[in-house]
Every structure is written in structure tokens, then in C-alpha cells.
């Protein structure tokens, strides 16, 4: 019983962090039809912002606050330098952002070295949850990620800005002909998507090994979540993250982590193969 509760908590934890990264990917892909292969490295930068800031100032919280801001700026820069030149060349956006991810990864190696960095746990206590001693910081991550995901959904489905963004996603040319500044929507969305990834990286830093490869480690599960849930849908992102995050933690409990990864990838590939539009399928 206690093991089950702990497993459920772990699952929720990983799923919610994954959801933050996935949401960023989905909005960028949905709005701009850009596959951002550097999204994992945005996560990576988020984690290293925390490393750098807590090395210099000793404050984890300042780093957590700065990470999304830094990433929003990075997102704006990337959009301006690279993405806007290749909007209509779908394959080239994959390639160019892939090149970017190499640059960022190696840049981190140059600045911080190839080894793993550790970030001390900022809330090193445990809390009793239904009889399970569970790390308080993980509960904090869950609460924060859930709140942020809800805020994102609220932004997209309940605000006038969200309505405009969804309008651009549905019919870019018509939205522009109604006066909506599509360029500004693109920039804003790219910045918000990047900031979400950076925040996820920052908040996960204390419970992960912070090394230059951690971005790829998160990129692939979040890509799988997008495809499994259904491209172009925020609800799909939630379902996909649930499936991938859930399967990963549950398999890892029974078998080695490497085998669990293999199983999850195979599972995801089968789902993608038979449901090319994702689990939510017809709903675009």
C-alpha cells in the first residue's frame, strides 16, 4: 500500500514536470508548425541557470525565478535569429534547431565542464502523505507544475490573448486579415514555450543529475508525449505526458531504468504507429 502511494506520487511528479516541457513544445508546434529540437536544451539551460545562480549567490530560489526569464529572452533571440527565416520550411526548422541544440549543449560543456553538477535540495524535509514519508520538495514541484499547467490552460482557453493565439493556430491567414499581429503572437508563444521548458529544468535540477545530456533525456519523452497525445492539442499534451510519464515511472519500479526506457519507447512507437493523430485522434 505504502509502496503504491509512493509510486503514484512519483508518477504524478514526473508527469507534471514532463507536462511543462511538453506544453512548450505543443504550443510552438501548434502555432508555428516548428519542431523545436532545441527544446530539451532550453530545459538544460534552465537547470544550469539554477546551478550558476546558486553558486554565485547561494540562493536556489533566485535561480528558480531567473530561469524562466532567461529562457524567455533566449527564446526571443532564437526566434529572431533563426526561426523567422525558415518558417515555411518545415524540415529545415527541425535541422536548424537541431544544430542549435548541439551549440547549446557544447556551450554548457565549455562553461561548466562535462561532468554532473549537483544542486542541493532547497527543502530537505519529508512530509507524511497517507503514511508515506515523501520529500517535501517533490510535493512542491508537483504543486508548482500543476499550478503552472493550469495557468497555461487558462491563458489559452479563457483569455482574449489565448483566443487570438488559437485563432492563429486554426487559420493563420484569416486571423492576420482580421488585424491580428501574427508575428507578435509567434514571438510571444516562442518565448512562453521556452520559458516553460526553462522553468521545468530549473525546478527539476535539485532532483536530477544536472549534466549536459539531461536535455536529450527530457526531449525524447516529451516528443513522444506530443505524438502519443496528439499533435496540436493542449489536452493531448496532458494525456501524452500522463501515458509516457506514468509508463516510465511504473516500469522503472519493476525493472532496470534502461529496460524501462526501451519498453516505454516501444509502447510509444506502437501507439504512434496505430494512432498517427494521437490518442485524442480526430479532435484537432
Amino acid at each position: 500500500m505504502q509502496a503504491t502511494i509512493a509510486l503514484l506520487l512519483d508518477t504524478a511528479n514526473f508527469t507534471l514536470a514532463l507536462l511543462l516541457v511538453t506544453l512548450g513544445l505543443v504550443v510552438i508546434f501548434g502555432l508555428m508548425n516548428v519542431i523545436n529540437m532545441a527544446h530539451g536544451e532550453f530545459f538544460l539551460i534552465g537547470a544550469y541557470v539554477v546551478v550558476a545562480v546558486s553558486n554565485v549567490t547561494g540562493s536556489f530560489w533566485l535561480g528558480l525565478l531567473l530561469a524562466p526569464i532567461v529562457l524567455a529572452v533566449v527564446g526571443l533571440l532564437v526566434e529572431w535569429l533563426i526561426i523567422r527565416h525558415i518558417y515555411h520550411r518545415f524540415i529545415d526548422t527541425i535541422l536548424a534547431t537541431w544544430g542549435l541544440s548541439l551549440v547549446i549543449k557544447q556551450g554548457v560543456v565549455v562553461l561548466f565542464g562535462p561532468g554532473a553538477q549537483s544542486v542541493p535540495n532547497p527543502i530537505p524535509t519529508a512530509v507524511d502523505v497517507f503514511g508515506v514519508q515523501y520529500p517535501a520538495y517533490r510535493l512542491f514541484i508537483m504543486a508548482l507544475a500543476a499550478a503552472l499547467a493550469l495557468a497555461t490552460y487558462y491563458l489559452f482557453f479563457r483569455t482574449k490573448l489565448g483566443l487570438q493565439i488559437r485563432g492563429v493556430i486554426a487559420n493563420r491567414a484569416m486571423a492576420a486579415s482580421l488585424g491580428i499581429n501574427t508575428r507578435r503572437m509567434d514571438r510571444a508563444t516562442f518565448a512562453v514555450g521556452s520559458a516553460l521548458a526553462g522553468f521545468a529544468g530549473a525546478v527539476m535540477a535539485p532532483i536530477m543529475s544536472v549534466d549536459p545530456q539531461m536535455g536529450v533525456g527530457f526531449l525524447i519523452p516529451s516528443f513522444l508525449s506530443v505524438l502519443v497525445g496528439g499533435v496540436n492539442s493542449l489536452v493531448g499534451a496532458l494525456i501524452g505526458s500522463g501515458v509516457i510519464g506514468g509508463a516510465t515511472t511504473i516500469f522503472s519500479a519493476g525493472i532496470s531504468q534502461a529496460d524501462a526506457q526501451i519498453l516505454v519507447f516501444l509502447l510509444a512507437m506502437i501507439i504512434i504507429r496505430f494512432l498517427p493523430n494521437g490518442i485524442i485522434g480526430g479532435r484537432k
Partner: protein, 235 residues
């Protein structure tokens, strides 16, 4: 008010469709653009709306050259576009569709005016309904209102009566006429339905092979000079 001069435009891959279009429209006029299929009418509308890049020439609205502006700038300068096929947001409610008409216009308040549903009452009855579930005629009414709520100076209407039941076509024609008379709205309309053209428009331009080939300076000439209709419209 609208001055189109030697406009050349077309599709990125396929060369130019418009081969030097020139005409003027004065404020408050309602002008019909007539011609057979494939002569460039819709291309002209899309070019004026900024959805196609101009390759040569220019068009000015109240003296400002909008030739190479992105479409959101053109929309904010006062050209409203109701495209062929209506292109409403099918998954949005009627109200959300109408909101889209004002949200992109910084000079307008970002909410709907209270009298918005007076023009087409059916939209008010269905304002919480998904737009995609409505009939073609209702969708056309929605597309027109979505454009009008943004208070354009010039309305570009592409085939508003296409595939719509006659009673609604009449209603649309009468409403547009009333709006044009009361607000001084200028309209350029592409249309195949000559009855509709005669009730709404004051004069007509004929398009052939990417240029303005002829004109009828009074709409009555459509009946007085049957050779015009025969020359440019019959198949």
C-alpha cells in the same frame, strides 16, 4: 479612396495572375467585380487583403501605399476581407468569432458593441453555439459581421451568395445596403449572382485575363448592354 495602379500579383510558385490591374473606388461606392472563373478576381481580392505579395504596381488606401504591408497592417488600416468560402473559425463559438474581429484592432475596445446582433438576429440566438454547426448562410452572415465589427473603411466581399439559400442572400444584400447607406462603407464585391449585384452595387468592373477589361459606370447598363454580360460572363 482606393487607388489601384498597375497591380501585378500572383502565387509564389506560379508567376503572376494579375497583369497590371488599374481602377479607383471613391468613398461610399459599392462596386461589383465581375468576370468568368480563373480571370483573377479572387487573386485581386487576396492581393488587396495582403495575403499575396504584390510583384509590381501599387494600391493605396486614402493615399497610403499598402502594397507590401503584411495583412494585419492592411486590416488595421481599414481594409476588411470576407473571403470566398467564408473561413470562419469552426471550433469557436459565434461570439468568439465576432471577438476575433475586434481583438486585433488596437484602436477599438476589445469587446463587442451591444448592438452587434441587430443586423443578423440569428447570430444573437446562436451566439454560444459552435460556428461550424451552423448553415452556410448563417456562416456567411457571421463572416460578414466578424469583418464589420472591426469597422473597416473598405469591405472586400468574395462571392457572398455562393451556395446559400435565396432568402438569406436577400437578407445579406439588404443588410449590406443599409450599412453602406448609413455608414458610408465602401464595398468591392466579387459576385456571380447578377440579381444580387443589381440590388447592391452602383457600378461594375469586368475582369479578363488578369486585367480590368471593361466597365459599366451605372449598374443599369448590365441590362441595357447585354453584350457586356455576354462578352465577359457567359460560358
Amino acid at each position: 479612396m482606393l487607388a489601384v495602379e498597375n497591380l501585378v500579383a500572383g502565387y509564389p510558385s506560379g508567376g503572376s495572375v494579375l497583369k497590371g490591374v488599374t481602377f479607383d473606388i471613391a468613398k461610399g461606392e459599392v462596386v461589383a467585380l465581375l468576370g468568368r472563373n480563373g480571370m483573377g478576381k479572387t487573386t485581386l481580392m487576396r492581393a488587396l487583403a495582403g495575403q499575396l505579395a504584390t510583384q509590381g504596381g501599387s494600391f493605396r488606401l486614402d493615399g497610403r501605399d499598402l502594397g507590401n504591408c503584411p495583412s494585419y497592417v492592411i486590416a488595421n488600416e481599414g481594409i476588411g476581407y470576407v473571403p470566398q468560402g467564408r473561413e470562419i473559425f469552426k471550433d469557436f463559438t459565434v461570439e468568439e468569432n465576432l471577438l476575433m474581429g475586434v481583438l486585433g484592432k488596437p484602436r477599438l475596445p476589445n469587446r463587442l458593441p451591444p448592438d452587434i446582433y441587430d443586423f443578423f438576429p440569428v447570430l444573437g440566438e446562436r451566439r454560444r453555439q459552435k460556428a461550424g454547426t451552423m448553415s452556410g448562410g448563417q456562416q456567411q452572415q457571421l463572416a460578414i459581421m466578424r469583418c464589420l465589427v472591426g469597422q473597416p473603411k473598405l469591405l472586400l466581399l468574395d462571392e457572398p451568395s455562393e451556395g446559400i439559400q435565396p432568402s438569406i442572400v436577400d437578407e445579406i444584400g439588404r443588410t449590406l445596403q443599409a450599412v453602406a447607406r448609413s455608414t458610408g462603407l465602401t464595398i468591392l464585391v466579387v459576385e456571380q449572382n447578377l440579381d444580387f449585384v443589381e440590388t447592391l452595387a452602383g457600378r461594375a468592373l469586368f475582369m479578363e485575363n488578369g486585367v480590368i477589361a471593361d466597365r459599366a459606370d451605372r449598374i443599369g447598363q448590365l441590362r441595357e448592354r447585354p453584350e457586356l454580360v455576354h462578352r465577359y460572363l457567359s460560358i
